[in-house]
């Protein structure tokens, strides 16, 4: 009996040896890493941080690393917090939370981002507060954390919070929902498309543009109508068009939009014509062309405007026909300018095809304004022939400035300028002599020297 007990104790001791050896090895490694964390050389610190991310697993080790935080300078501290976040061990959470009180913005921002990896739903309040804090870095960090945080209930909580929050926070929360691709919470986003705050509406529309599904098309339209005309309306239309694009078949896309329009009050439907133009497609051309050539004069303008916003040149012939047959000068003008605009679209056609359309437009143009519009838009056909088409207008004072601008824009395209350098140098010399626009002169000189030019934003 005694001998058996001794054997058992010996076996127990043997089993314990590797574990003790392992613990020693781990504490040696932790010691090595800790020493590196305070190294004044950044690259040595980085070597240590890399191991914080990947090695010496275990809560005790994590706490040993986290305990170094108060001993480090701000830059090293921010780096260690980031590494602890990447390590993904919640044992570092209390130490990281403490760092939110740091006087250094980078440290606070790093702590917020780290909470995205090691925090929990209980940190939501602090993250929401930081979303609207004064510091841009902290706002961004909180957004990242809320986007990354793995918590099954988080998305629902954010959606609920977005309904009661103030406009600034509401917008930020919708951005987070979009970034998390929270397709289960689209109702909350759709509700925000008709918010009283324009900023929130725009964010909600952008979110739907990213994650919305064709099923939501009808629900998005009130948001388009609520959007203020101008930039906000344009943005809303673009996002609805993005959702439409998720339907591959062109005819089905058109049908889905027409069906969604059916849910809108007839009196408001015309306001959505430009949106139809953005979506494009054969089926919708017919739908809009009927309105653009119908008996109701007030609706014609809306229809022509929609055809002018077509994403490609497929509405060009319809527009030219409307322009040619128009008896009213204003209708002619609107249709012709829209025709030139769609002809110049940089769509799937090649530059020669675009140029042919511009030549056709030039033949059809009747007034100075129409010709200037064609000269201006010819810049979208990147071909040396475009320059040759426009060049004669340099000698006609009423078209000279438009021609100068188009020639300089064409010269910006190195692929057509370089193989025809002598011809471009000569025409750019003409532009330099003729124009008063200092920017055009500077650009012309740069292109002659083979330099490029950065477009001002």
């Amino acid at each position: 009996m005694f001998r058996r007990s001794v054997s058992f104790l010996m076996l127990l001791a043997l089993c314990a040896i590797p574990r003790i050896a392992g613990a020693d090895a781990s504490s040696d490694l932790v010691e090595q890493i800790v020493k590196l964390l305070s190294n004044p050389d950044r690259e040595f610190r980085a070597a240590g941080l890399e191991k914080v991310r990947t090695s010496a697993k275990g809560a005790a080790q994590t706490q040993a690393f986290a305990a170094q935080l108060p001993k480090l300078d701000d830059s090293a501290r921010a780096a260690l917090i980031t590494a602890l976040g990447d390590r993904g061990d919640a044992a570092a959470r209390p130490a990281v939370l403490e760092q939110l009180g740091s006087t250094n913005e980078d440290v606070r921002a790093a702590a917020l981002v780290a909470l995205g990896e090691i925090g929990s739903a209980s940190d939501l309040a602090v993250l929401l507060k930081s979303l609207t804090s004064a510091s841009g870095a902290e706002q961004q960090a909180a957004r990242i954390a809320l986007t990354r945080m793995r918590d099954a209930t988080l998305v629902k909580t954010i959606a609920a919070e977005s309904k009661s929050a103030g406009p600034q926070l509401r917008g930020k929360l919708i951005e987070v929902l979009a970034a998390r691709r929270a397709t289960g919470e689209l109702d909350a986003i759709i509700a925000a498309t008709t918010d009283s705050d324009g900023g929130v509406r725009t964010i909600a529309m952008n979110a739907l543009g990213q994650i919305g599904k064709p099923d939501q098309l009808a629900a998005m339209l009130p948001g388009v109508l609520k959007a203020e005309k101008g930039r906000e309306r344009d943005n809303a239309e673009r996002n609805v068009a993005e959702v439409c694009k998720r339907i591959d078949n062109e005819d089905q896309r058109g049908a889905a939009l027409i069906s969604a329009l059916g849910t809108i009050d007839a009196g408001q439907r015309d306001e959505l014509m430009p949106l139809i133009g953005r979506v494009g497609g054969r089926r919708l051309i017919k739908f809009v062309a009927d309105i653009a050539t119908g008996d109701d004069a007030s609706r014609r303008s809306v229809g022509i405007d929609a055809l002018g916003k077509w994403p490609d040149a497929s509405s060009a012939d319809t527009l030219l026909e409307i322009a040619s047959k128009a008896k009213d000068a204003a209708v002619r003008r609107q249709a012709f300018l829209a025709f030139v605009k769609v002809c110049a679209n940089r769509d799937d056609r090649n530059d020669q095809q675009r140029l042919e359309r511009m030549k056709q437009a030039l033949k059809e143009a009747r007034t100075t304004e129409e010709k200037i519009a064609v000269i201006n838009r010819t810049r979208t056909a990147y071909d040396v022939e475009s320059m040759r088409l426009v060049r004669p207008f340099l000698d006609q004072p009423e078209y000279c400035q438009a021609a100068c601008e188009t020639i300089v824009e064409l010269a910006h395209q190195r692929q057509i300028r370089d193989p025809n350098k002598a011809e471009f140098d000569s025409v750019l010399d003409q532009v330099i002599k003729l124009t008063d626009n200092k920017e055009l002169i500077e650009r012309a000189n740069r292109y002659k020297r083979g330099e490029t030019w950065e477009r001002k934003r």
Binding site: G22, A25, S26, D28, L29, Q32, I33, L36, D41, E43, F44, A47, G48, E50, K51, T54, S55, A56
Partner: protein, 236 residues
Amino acid sequence: MLDQAFEALKKYDYGTPISELQAIEDAVVASHTDAAVRQDLEKRLIAALDSGISRDAKDYVCRKVAMIGSPAAVPVLSKLAASEENSHLARHALERIPGPEAAAALATAATQLTGKLKIGAIASIGARRETAGVASLAPFLKDADPAVVRSAALSLGTIGGAEAAAVLQPAIQSATGDKTALIDSLLQCAESLLNSKKTAEAKAIYESLSGDQQPRLIRLAATRGLLACGAKAVES
């Protein structure tokens, strides 16, 4: 077909369509599972190498010998290894032919040749990654030509292991010029030791390179190595 291809090989030169030699390609693949066919094909390739075919044809044959060659091909390859034109592809074959004959041929070439050909032969000993190559490389660490020393050091690093490290360490101590290649190679040895779970030996090397007297980048590499040793120890 194969006979035709060997006939075509006699006229093969830069710019000739490679398709004319397709039958040789096919034979190399087919010989993979048939020792007799392989032996026969090798004989024909060796005979071709010993004939007056063009430089490009010899290069082509060397590539095939690298795939199916045996010690029987070593003598002809040794001859070519001494020629400026064909040395590279001949060594390419010698690096891959199994057995001590090819290793011995490279060791002899490294001793007898000069200049770039010598450096190439030294590099090829390393490319075989045989511990036995360490002994033939060690003397070159004392060579007067720094390029030879560098090539030998890099070859030792490629071979790796404790034997190569044991040769490199004293060479580092006694070297007076640029030690970068020697130290790089020693670090490679430490890495190979670490990969084969000889953590204690690897750690000893890294520790020897982590002192303040070492340049910063060496210390950094050694520090990373020590951390890797620490992590390995925890894993095991």
